[in-house]
Symmetry: C2
Subunit: 344 residues, 2 copies
Amino acid sequence: MTGELMAAEMGEQPEVLRRLLSRRAEIKSSLGSRLPDDVRGVVLVARGSSDHAAIYGRYAIEVASGLPVTLAAPSLVTLYRAEVDYQGFLAVAISQSGETPEIVSVLRCLSELGAFGVAITNRADSPLAREAGVVLELGAGDERAVPATKTFTAQLAMLGMMAEALGSPPWRPNDWASVPEAVESALADPAPAREVADEIGDALGTICVGRGFLFPIALEAALKLKETSSILAEGYSAADLRHGPIAVIEEDFPVLLFAASGPTQADVESLADTLDERGARVFVIGDVARADIPVSGTLPEALAVIPAAVRAQQLAFWLARHRGLDPDHPSGLTKVTRTGERSA
Amino acid sequence: MTGELMAAEMGEQPEVLRRLLSRRAEIKSSLGSRLPDDVRGVVLVARGSSDHAAIYGRYAIEVASGLPVTLAAPSLVTLYRAEVDYQGFLAVAISQSGETPEIVSVLRCLSELGAFGVAITNRADSPLAREAGVVLELGAGDERAVPATKTFTAQLAMLGMMAEALGSPPWRPNDWASVPEAVESALADPAPAREVADEIGDALGTICVGRGFLFPIALEAALKLKETSSILAEGYSAADLRHGPIAVIEEDFPVLLFAASGPTQADVESLADTLDERGARVFVIGDVARADIPVSGTLPEALAVIPAAVRAQQLAFWLARHRGLDPDHPSGLTKVTRTGERSA
């Protein structure tokens, strides 16, 4: 069967999350005792799926801690040698393999500029881990399918725990307990995602939309769809879509809209109405009334991203299958990406 | 003729830039005297084309000043009410009209959180200007075509001057003098852009790629193409493209590659080789040997972005014309974008 690696790794997610969450107190206290006292900002370093986790981390950490959080532009340090004063900053590098040379190189440069390095990785013995003052190991087990699944949701959970260690996140401590269950519910009910994938069918393009905490999930959905199904999928925040890109959405164009009860709901629902008026085929993923693909309503928005990400994986998996493609082995991709030599 | 507004406004760019550059000493000294002394960071606020200018500003200011620069995520302040300490930060909001309610609202929130507000706008009497401690007026004259052209290149120049006011940018003071001429050269020679647009023709999608300072120009090219021609165009950094999205690039897929002599050249040229091997149709815009659409080689990379942006405008203009569309009036867009009410 094609896609068996991806399917198996998606299926491991409840267990991976349970294992990770059982280390919650330990991770929090380890961060509490080992991070510098006078943190004045955070810079996140990642590419690809990990970069989408980083965007989630930006929202979670900024809301929880009140620290300014920025996403590193790698070329600024590797190619332009910008000499930014990162004294008092945490530099948090996120890489499943811990082997992407560019990410290792950026973390080293940021440390030389004064930042305290943290590595979030699935490989505690990786080059990235060796560059960091604190290593947060995902413990997700080997990931062999090219599209990241279990390591992506584990990265989200790890960044959520990091936000807790740095302040007051927008969820209650007990909410974590419902996360693996919400993921299990989604995995046990693949039919709605499969049906939407079949409806997207051979469309040449789609747009994935989310807002706030769900914005990175929309980006990740678009990337997974591109990787597995070669569909032209682009991710947008609901707000950005209105600033121009909405022009590409014509009659029957499929749009995947990630929605959640909470502060972003009104904006996303108003966008859904606008898209309906344009004649787009709007498919909603979330805990809201009009959802085509449901996500458990027991979680606050900032944690509901995790089962929502699983829904995105299912869409990508089933779209690839619909198209007769093997989701495990996308065209021209490998598990560790090497940027052009000169930039490393 | 369709597109006459856009064509006219593109044609005004050398004059707009000359006018702006004649105010260079005044702008620099006004910033020098009015900004706080103890700036410790910069946060940029924008959407759409202005957001691409903001990304350019991030590179230019970070390289020049050594200050950490971040791009605001508007929902963090408007919807989630993150209480970030922005004491000592400059909050630089960029909006052509100065009327986008969300941008005005974000600048107000950031000021309340301690930041010193700067507005870059074409309208000194706008609501955005009223929220700011310093207003940097573009003076580009009315812009009536929906796709921003002359205000975008003016924003790039203004952010470049701001980088100069804050430190040592990667160009010499005299290099500015060649910018309007390089734009004039591009405008006087539309044929290469028109030919590439004709070759893209009715393709359903394209990908625009740049790296470093040219990355925001690739994003802007993709947005312009979407707006004017409803083509599924996505912008990427050369490095990000390798992390998954390259999977969509199949035989004959058109790719627009922005290249410049300098630190990013080796990486972009290595990507061009990879894309050639995949059978993509690669069109190069820049001052490099294999360019299909030339950009004057007299400018350092960080200023060559301005004529490169003009090349992107020409591509969007001619692709719309090829498709029988009116570039002045993209489907469903207006000049001032209102995000869902609740987010304002």
